[in-house]
Symmetry: C2
Subunit: 204 residues, 2 copies
DNA sequence: GCCCGAAATTGATCCAGAGCAAGGAAGCGG
DNA sequence: CCGCTTCCTTGCTCTGGATCAATTTCGGGC
């Protein structure tokens, strides 16, 4: 089962499973499935029931709320996971998930993870920590959206990308400007204008 | 130790500890403290380090982000808890907490809870579930804020208060209109206008 | 190198909701 | 019953960012 050992391999590299003994990891991997999705593919739609914990091996996944204007909640890159929260809830997914690049996913069913929580205290703590972290980020994002104007949000976002301590750096945006705009909760037009005007002011 | 048995009593009634055996509960209560706070008291300020898991026995606590305009993230009533997420993170509180009424709090230090996670799998699951739930609510709230206009948010909020299935009901707001307004992410003026205009249209 | 569709820029207009200001209740201690 | 404070209402103005509408630039296939 190449798939299975691959899955175990990938999962083993995630922070979440960093300290999980190989035997248990193999057990988890038995209930996991790798899934290759091309750029642009819809991975899951809001309202569907979750298929399991999703881990990104490589590629990039966009989690977003779609109304008349789209709001990107999170961009999930290699080594990160999503849909943890919904695993323990009997609720449909609250967001849409789309691959922004060719992506390899590992999908782990809920049941064995619940068992692992009971069996491995380090895992339980790790999961709790990771959800806490996610929650914290969400609150910070909420704050940015409700308290600061578009200019400040962009500024904050930009230096969250820059390496810490650097006075001046050149950063690579993780996605198209349209997506970044939705991430920041503005339209692409506004983002474009802001970037230009910050450029004109020599701040960038 | 009246305080201790009181704390154990209160904690025992929380969904989180519903299935925790009395012996463990007593142990937790040894590390807990009840705290009486008067209406208007600041319980914790953004940026402080958390003192522990907070449970509300009676009263009402407002969790909010303060900028030039305040955004209320959550109103915590009797039987509910807050600050769980921040327990497992080495980060300062992201929100302010203020008592909106005379309130009795139970404050539980982090250490014994971490121990309890290891010792009691039901507790670990319960905590995970409750954090997932919290997360879900936050995402829904985020959606309301970013996707819908003020009118729709108010409508949604109102019938989240009404008992399910009722076609017409009279509800009691859990706090002053000013606070509700901040909860909905609008100013009190806007809330006032909306209520009036919904009244004029005979929808309320 | 050339073409085509997708992404980005730029300009002009519009609007929901914030901010400001000036009254009205409504509760409450004396 | 009065005066004080706190909360709520209502009218007016102002503005950040959305929306609509053209262009312009870019990237990849042939």
């Amino acid at each position: 089962m190449v798939n299975r050992t691959l899955a175990a391999d990938i999962l083993g590299k995630l922070p979440l499973f960093r300290h999980t003994p190989p035997a248990r990891l193999a057990e988890i991997a038995r209930h996991a499935r790798t899934e290759h999705v091309a750029r642009g593919t819809v991975i899951a739609r809001r309202g569907e029931k979750p298929r399991g914990l999703m881990a990104v091996a490589y590629g990039l996944v966009k989690l977003s709320l779609k109304g008349e204007t789209e709001k990107v909640l999170r961009l999930v890159g290699p080594g990160e996971t999503f849909a943890e929260a919904v695993l323990f809830l009997d609720k449909p997914l609250p967001v849409d998930a789309v691959a922004l690049a060719d992506t390899l996913l590992v999908v782990v069913r809920a049941a064995p993870l619940l068992a692992l929580i009971d069996a491995d205290r380090a895992f339980a703590r790790g999961l709790l920590a990771s959800m806490s972290q996610r929650m914290h980020e969400l609150v910070m994002d909420f704050e940015a959206t409700t308290q600061h104007g578009a200019r400040e949000r962009l500024a904050g976002y930009l230096d969250s990308l820059a390496p810490p301590g650097a006075v001046q750096a050149s950063v690579q945006l993780p996605a198209s400007k349209t997506v970044i705009a939705a991430r920041l909760g503005v339209t692409k037009e506004t983002l474009s204008r802001l970037l230009r005007q910050m450029g004109d002011e020599g701040l960038i």
